[in-house]
């Protein structure tokens, strides 16, 4: 177990270093941030002074070296635009993104597992066909289009729910969140549903496939031969079995919800890190973009690790360091 953790940590450091280098060079190649930051009518002297103060006058390798040295000291640079440490900008926006992703995944699981079970237990029935058709729509219609439809129907026509921003936030355990107030919750519903739709379709399919693969197995028949109720067989024997693949996929999907919630955050003007990323790319605010990607990559690494641990808890066959 210890060897496993150490190897994982080393791999993670390599991945982080590679990400930093690629993004650094990538953003450098897109354009010169000075163009965006300095007024067009500035004198060459003023321009040179700003470039020097941001370190943009030095060659790329030198800039990268400074960045790495600072990063090792925990300093990921200051935003060119906001003149704040980029990491605190990101951490300030992170709770909004996390709460959106969290609510989306809860919706996807809370609806997806029961629907997947219903479909899988009665394959090719009318219920199954209806659920599967719905999930195909969830998969194939573009996410931004689904978002606009949600706004159109629930905000514009029906006027039930607000479509922009986070609403009033409150604090739970010292974290600022929309989940704390009624107004915040109302603001959360549409973007969370939008973000959840694709994952919902995925959970339905995974569950349905898992049920169909598990039901014909001998141990299900044996469970019936023991006289267990169908309810217990499905909710304990079958569900516990399909949790293993489900957790693996969902764990990875949480990462993608956080990293790629960009579209949803943009449509619903949700002040999360996705929106910050888009704004920063537009302004070539390199320190923020680099810090963002490092944070997201770290998130993936942590999630990956959590999934592996959960996996071994759910499946006793791969449990580490526990003999018979």
């Amino acid at each position: 177990m210890t060897v496993f953790v150490i190897r994982r940590l080393l791999q993670s450091l390599v991945v982080l270093a590679a990400t930093a280098a690629i993004v650094f060079v990538g953003v450098y190649a897109i354009g010169d941030p000075a163009e965006m930051l300095i007024a067009p009518d500035a004198t060459p002297a003023e321009r040179a002074q700003v470039e020097a103060s941001l370190g943009l006058d030095r060659p790329l390798p030198a800039q990268f070296l400074t960045f790495v040295v600072n990063a090792l000291h925990g300093d990921l640079g200051r935003s060119f635009v906001f003149n704040q440490p980029s990491i605190s900008l990101i951490l300030g926006r992170l709770p909004a993104t996390l709460e959106l992703a969290f609510v989306a995944i809860v919706i996807a699981l809370a609806l997806g597992i029961p629907l997947g079970l219903l479909a899988g237990l009665k394959p090719r029935s009318a219920t199954d066909e209806a659920i599967m058709t719905g999930s195909i729509l969830g998969f194939s219609l573009p996410n931004f289009w689904q978002g606009m439809m949600l706004i159109m129907i629930f905000s514009v026509w029906l006027g039930w729910l607000p479509s922009t921003g986070r609403g009033t936030t409150g604090t739970i355990f010292g974290v600022e969140t929309s989940l704390a107030t009624w107004d915040g919750l109302r603001h959360l519903i549409l973007p969370a549903v939008n973000l959840a739709l694709f994952k919902l379709a995925l959970v339905i399919r995974l569950t349905r496939t898992g049920v169909r693969e598990t039901m014909p197995l001998d141990f299900v028949k044996f469970a019936r031969a023991k006289g267990l109720t169908e309810r217990r067989i499905v909710l304990v024997h079958v569900l516990k079995t399909i949790m293993v693949p489900l957790v693996t996929v969902i764990g990875m999907e949480i990462g993608s919800l956080i990293a790629f919630g960009v579209v949803t955050e943009t449509i619903f003007a949700w002040p999360g890190i996705g929106k910050l990323l888009i704004d920063s790319i537009m302004r070539l605010d390199r320190p923020v973009v680099v810090a963002y990607l490092l944070v997201v990559v770290s998130l993936f690494i942590v999630l990956n690790f959590t999934v592996d641990v959960l996996y071994s808890i759910l499946d006793p066959r791969i449990r580490v360091g526990r003999g018979a």
Binding site: A225, G227, R317
Partner: protein, 324 residues
């Protein structure tokens, strides 16, 4: 003698209405209280499907299309699901063919045994657990208290089959259907389990249907034998009669193919050809194409059962030794 189980003209078919696969096609037998019936036949003759049909455990597209299954006078064919559930595991238990597949790999032995107790008895958990532990001790699993917490993959095949037997014994059922429970195990384990089962059946006065393709195993265990061929029982009777004076050429063939009965230096005499698939059975007597005694009359009609005291057979040309 009072019959615990009486099966009459049981027919279980797979496939479609237009092209049925007659896996079990008119099986009749009965088992008395405390009696051990050996059900023998080649692979594919319909032994397992017969066992599953009794408990209503045939998976679609399989279905019981005809016949009766009377358990202590109660009709089980077409009985309501809840009635069947109350009988399964409580009054009729079943042990499956492949011990590697019958236990759920993600649930502990304790969970799988305790749920079997609680499915029928409204007892406190601690008591259910104590019963599970005692049952493990009964089938010869060392240190049952610790083994309760283990998972199936931590047991060998032989030990898993013992666990399955322990589960079958939890409610001291009136009848156990054992579907080749020792086929997947090596010979020493096999004889240990046979010995234990015989002992336990005697101790609790349980009736046993012991399914096997091995006449040798059945010879050492059963009181009576039913020989199955192509979905039917072709001969049945007391174990000594069947082994010493078989009436049906197929039974003779099974005996001659048995290493234990062949004389030293004499070659084994396998039955020529293969058992026909349910979809490709010859007209008349299904065995005639492989039979050394077959005449032209065998193709014309199916032989009806001939009775002689405790035994019966379906054959137009029974062997002379049976009459002696």
């Amino acid at each position: 003698m009072v019959a615990v189980l009486q099966v009459e003209g049981l027919q279980t078919w797979f496939g479609t209405k237009d092209a049925p696969v007659r896996a079990v096609d008119g099986v009749s037998f009965s088992v008395a209280r405390g009696e051990i019936l050996g059900l023998v036949g080649e692979s594919g003759s319909g032994k397992s499907i017969t066992g599953f049909s009794i408990l209503g455990l045939v998976d679609p597209p399989g279905r019981v299309v005809g016949g009766r299954v009377l358990f202590q006078g109660q009709e089980l064919v077409g009985a309501p699901p809840e009635t069947l559930r109350r009988i399964r595991g409580k009054k009729i238990a079943m042990i499956f063919q492949d011990p590697m597949m019958t236990l759920n790999p993600v649930l502990s032995i304790e969970t799988q045994m305790v749920e079997a107790v609680l499915a029928h008895d409204d007892t406190p958990r601690a008591e259910a657990r104590a019963r599970a532990r005692d049952a493990l001790g009964l089938v010869g699993i060392p240190s049952p208290e610790e083994r309760l917490g283990a998972y199936p993959h931590q047991f060998s095949g032989g030990m898993r089959q013992r666990v399955a037997i322990a589960i079958a014994l939890l409610h001291k059922p009136d009848l156990i259907i054992a579907d080749e429970p020792t086929t997947a195990l090596d010979v020493t384990i096999q004889s240990q389990i046979l010995f234990e089962v015989r002992r336990l059946a005697d101790a609790f006065g349980m009736a046993l249907v012991w399914i096997s393709h091995d006449l040798g195993v059945v010879a050492s265990l059963a009181d009576r034998v039913a020989v199955m061929y192509a979905g039917r029982i072709v001969e049945s009777g007391g174990v000594d009669d069947i082994l010493d004076r078989p009436a049906h050429p197929y039974t003779r063939g099974l005996l001659d193919a048995l290493p234990a009965t062949a004389r030293r230096g004499e070659r084994l005499r396998p039955i020529p050809g293969m058992a026909p698939a349910p979809t490709a059975r010859p007209s008349g007597c299904a065995f005639r194409t492989r039979c050394f005694a077959a005449g032209p009359d065998c193709a014309a009609a199916e032989p009806e059962p001939t009775r002689a005291g405790e035994r019966q057979w379906r054959c137009f040309h029974p062997l002379a030794e049976a009459a002696a």
